[in-house]
Amino acid sequence: MSLTVELWQMLVVFFSAIFTGNILLTTFLGMCPFLAVSRQVKASVGLGFAVVFVMTCTSLLNWLAYRYVLVPLELEFFRFILFIIIIATFVQFVEMVLERYSPVLYQNLGIFLPLITVNCAILGASLFTVIREYTFLVTVGYGFGSGAGWMLAIVAMAGIRQKMAVERVPAGLQGPGITLIIAGLMALGFIGFTGVLQGG
């Protein structure tokens, strides 16, 4: 594939990962932290940034590991374990670096990092790049876009929930129930973006 075609595809995949194929609202990944943390905008923004960073970096690392280690050794089935190890190690590493070099950032973002290791969206994004056989550049676009899409969803959700904090929600729906309904409405809204992107 020529470079311009690839760059174009990367852009298309980036936008579609945010809008038309949002990793949370269409493929349901990353729901646990989404339901738990989306009460407040501040926390959601923090977690969102952390997710964007980790998702972009780990999709790249996992792509490289898959292409240059697993495929040559014919160990493709091992990707589940290897990806998890890479993600956990990367997060651990980032936590250490943050703690050492930027106490401020560590205070704000560091607490979210352990949460990210179990965020299935991170693993899911890497698995999707394998299934869809994305090239390296497209993986960059997809990883970054998925993270951004996830962050968009969680921040929007937090905004809505904060506004709704004063509303009377039926007892059975409080918490996860109403959050899921809001998520459903958001997903419905995002479907409006379908067809905006050709080839995405």
Binding site: C32, P170, I181
Partner: protein, 223 residues
Amino acid sequence: MSAVAEREPASPRPRPRKRESALRKTMKEGLWDNNPIFRQVLGICSALAVTNLVLNTAVMCLALTWTTALSCLTVSLLRDWTPHRIRMMVQTLIIAFYVILVDLALKAYWPEMSRSLGPYVGLIITNCIIMGRCEAFARSNSPGMSFLDGLFSGLGYSFVLLMVAVLRELLGMGSILGVPVPYFSTAWDKWIIMVMPPGAFFTLACLIWIFRSIRSGEEEKSA
């Protein structure tokens, strides 16, 4: 669920009754009281996406129940040997092992299903329920009970997901397991929204609402 537990014959001797009620307790916990989804709202990620078809959901739930039960069994068998520090890595490895077995089997013997389920089989590994049961129960209980605990947690999860799937496929496509259902496949004006992602969110939300209302009703009565 409690109906199933009550069918067991009451035994007059003290020891069997104690063993038997531990079993009943485990079953009831996994399926209803501590139903992973309703009660703890755990682990929905990896399966909601496939709930638009009952068949796919059934395969997914089978895979998850298999993994949970066997992982708990294995973790329990190794519990005296596993050093405390690395227990989470070992648990992850064991869970991944059983999941990969399922993935390999599907790819070889049912490739269309493997493609339909996509990455979601692999994502069972990160499903909080399995790790949760291993940590909370299998680490400190006998292999037999751990296996059952894992089994019933898996079944509790499956029961909810299958309900979502039945509703989605019935209302959205007029069939169950691909078999057209009399009224729904003909006169019923199919709810396309059920086939799409928002449908999953709404259905699950309503089921949680119903379950929690029933639960709080039960709790009020016994309080």
